[in-house]
């Protein structure tokens, strides 16, 4: 725990330009496919949300029924966008912080191809009715094999690059990236073995699938988002991170106890399982406080920096959403609150804030920083601003409507005399406002893709111009 709290500084030996050149091909491919999956995923969840208003819409088409299109949309987001964007940002951070060029970029490209094949097969599988049914793990068995193989191929360059780092202190973002990469290989293989290959019996399946879903969202995606935040906020504010030991404390608290969260009390599992999970969740309070204090002391509420850089703006908002989402998870795990809000929209809202609010915004911030350096080009600032505001408004609308709807549903259902269908009718209005949020998020994703295509085509034109200039 001796890392000096300095903002990461690339050494002169391996210049950032060389590093970026080595990352160019795999990262471009990862980010572009992530952006495409994001648009597809948000389109699917938007359609699912509209179906709550108009249950008759496309009711004859089995592939587009709510129970298939909603998990398909979420899995597009988690596996198509989430892990690809996260691994792309993670690889870049490992290169920059290790002051070394990316090793094995060809392997990473292969891995990306397999991964995308797996996600495509999986989403098609869900739509034709091959979903496994487990939350956040709906991709069928034939897709999981491709995913795992592709993932290993993507993880090998990360480990090789980390191993080839120049001597020096490790920065917190490096731990978070490595933790995330290690964690996913373990939870994915466990879930694959125990749910798909030789399924465990009875409610143990629920234990494994809840454990998997929580670790995917809290640790794998959570650590990728935190890695980005821990790197970019100190760097762009121009101050060293206040305390690396605090960051290490957060890291170990999250791996030790954050990985326990997500198994609700009151389920038919043995009682101690839910209780242990609640204990672990509540212990995360110290991690959340440590992150908040660490960044408070790093930034010192220097609000002037807020508009300095789009990446910084995305990272600030992502950080705030992480704090809120984690606080909500802790409060929701308490027994009295869980008895009210368990199995309502409340939990859905927490996941949405974690996915769209914290993780996606953290990734956008990082991509807005990394991509211009890979391409030596610039984003369209108007589209960038539009993307930020659309995402922010969308997430706030979605989150608030679902939290309010969930709490209302929980309170009304706690009275035995309110019939379920009456409660549904009176809370659906709050929930339906969330469709507006889904729409804004979808349009935001489209704007992001548009900006991506624009920067690519501008770079292409510039390169063509250069080549023509040299030829003539």
């Amino acid at each position: 725990m001796t890392a000096t709290p300095t903002a990461p500084q690339p050494a002169a030996t391996s210049a950032p330009l060389d590093i970026d050149a080595s990352c160019r091909a795999p990262l471009l491919a990862l980010f572009l496919s992530a952006a495409l999956w994001l648009v597809l995923g948000t389109a699917c969840t938007l359609l699912a949300s509209i179906k709550l208003h108009v249950p008759h819409l496309l009711a004859d088409c089995s592939a587009l029924t709510y129970g298939r299109i909603r998990p398909a949309g979420l899995d597009c987001f988690l596996y198509g966008f989430g892990l690809q964007a996260g691994l792309g940002v993670g690889l870049w951070l490992l290169c920059r912080l290790g002051r070394t060029a990316l090793l094995g970029s060809g392997v990473a490209l292969f891995g990306m191809a397999f991964w995308n094949l797996g996600v495509s097969l999986g989403i098609l599988g869900i739509l034709i009715g091959d979903s496994t049914g487990y939350p956040a793990f709906e991709l069928p068995r034939y897709a999981a094999g491709f995913l795992f193989f592709g993932y290993i191929l993507l993880a090998i360059p990360a480990v090789m690059t980390f191993h080839a780092r120049r001597p020096g202190l490790l920065y917190p973002s490096q731990w978070f990236v490595l933790g995330s990469i290690f964690w996913f290989s373990w939870i994915f293989s466990t879930a694959g073995m125990l749910l798909l290959c030789s399924p465990v019996r009875g409610v143990v399946q629920s234990s494994v699938s809840w454990w998997y879903a929580n670790n995917l969202s809290e640790i794998v995606l959570g650590f990728m988002g935190l890695a980005s935040i821990f790197y970019f906020i100190p760097k762009l504010v121009g101050r060293p991170l206040h305390s690396a030991p605090w960051a290490a404390f957060v890291f170990w608290m999250m791996t030790l106890f954050g990985s326990w969260a997500g198994l609700p009390e009151g389920s038919p599992l043995p009682i101690w399982v839910g209780s242990m999970s609640t204990v672990g969740t509540v212990l995360m309070v110290v991690a959340v406080l440590a992150v908040a204090l660490n960044f408070y002391h790093t930034v010192r509420l220097n609000v002037n920096t807020l508009d300095a850089d789009p990446t910084l703006r995305f990272c600030y908002v992502a950080l705030i959403f992480w704090l809120i989402a984690s606080a909500q998870q802790i409060i929701g795990a308490l027994r009295g609150v869980n008895a009210l809000t368990g199995l309502t929209w409340f939990g859905v809202a927490q996941k949405e804030l974690q996915y769209y609010g914290f993780f996606a915004l953290g990734m956008f911030g990082a991509i807005y920083y990394i991509l211009p350096r890979l391409l030596q080009s610039t984003w369209c600032p108007h589209l960038l601003k539009a993307h930020f505001w659309l995402s922010l408004l969308g997430i706030v609308t979605l989150y608030l409507s679902h939290v309010i709807g969930g709490v209302m549903q929980g309170i009304l259902l706690s009275e035995a005399r309110n019939s379920f269908i009456d409660v549904l009718r009176s809370t659906m209005m709050a929930v339906r406002i969330g469709t507006l949020g889904e729409l804004l998020i979808f349009v935001g994703a489209l704007v992001f893709l548009l900006n991506f295509v624009k920067i690519l085509s501008e770079t292409g034109q510039r390169l063509r111009g250069d080549i023509m200039g040299r030829l003539s």
Binding site: G202, P268, S277
Partner: protein, 217 residues
């Protein structure tokens, strides 16, 4: 925290803690669970031979019913689940012994289905799948029209044909019949009862005197 191997060992340890607690722990305790004894009939519960309802669970899984319906009745201390979903007792781990996959669910956009088989008959369930808003106006459940077939009546009307009100009825000479998938799904839902009393879920106490003395006749 500056050495790669140490970082790896630390991750291995924390991961192992989580894995041992939430994967290995439940497996050791309930992974090899055997059927319980039905307190009333002394038969084994649950019964592994459910026939058509087993295939129905695959229809349930494929169409993502778990996106909106849970199948777990929580005890009274977690709210009036039993009153809302008309269940007889809270769910226990035994109820899911032969389910594949086990879909407890995370969210209730629609009601819990753990005891749905106690309160519907086959015709009512099929009608609900075809048009949920007939029996529950304001419901947001999709109409599963693709699980039904509108076909011409060739010889005599099918005994399986849905009884539908005039605004939904098939045109003259046609009838709406459930596909095998719909029949299997209905069979599966009818099998969701959780009404067998076992040691871990005994019948509610009656007003009988608290004594072991034989009842005098």
């Amino acid at each position: 925290m500056n050495s790669g191997p140490l970082l790896f060992l630390g991750l291995l340890f924390t991961m192992a803690c989580s894995w041992l607690t939430f994967v290995m722990g439940p497996q050791l305790q309930v992974g090899r669970m055997q059927p319980a004894t039905n307190l009333v009939s002394q038969e084994l519960y649950p019964n592994p031979y459910e026939g058509v309802s087993g295939q129905g669970s695959q229809v349930y899984r494929a169409n993502g019913c778990v996106s909106c319906h849970s199948q777990q009745i929580r005890a009274k201390s977690f709210g009036p689940d039993m009153a809302h979903y008309l269940a007889i007792r809270p769910s226990t781990a035994y109820d899911y012994l032969y389910d594949q996959p086990v879909l407890l669910g995370d969210q209730r956009i629609g009601p819990d289905l753990a005891a749905v088989g106690l309160h519907f008959d086959r015709a009512g369930l099929l009608q609900k799948l075809y048009e949920p808003r007939l029996s529950a106006p304001g419901s947001v459940m999709p109409s599963y029209r693709y699980l039904f077939e509108t076909r011409k009546i060739t010889f005599a009307p099918s005994t399986n044909a849905l009884a539908l009100p005039p605004q939904l009825a098939a045109p003259a000479g046609y009838e709406v019949v459930p596909t095998p998938a719909a029949e299997e799904l209905a069979g599966y839902l009818l099998s969701r009862r959780q009404n067998v009393f076992i040691y871990f879920a005994p019948p509610p106490p009656t007003n009988a005197p608290a004594t072991n003395a034989p009842v005098k006749k």
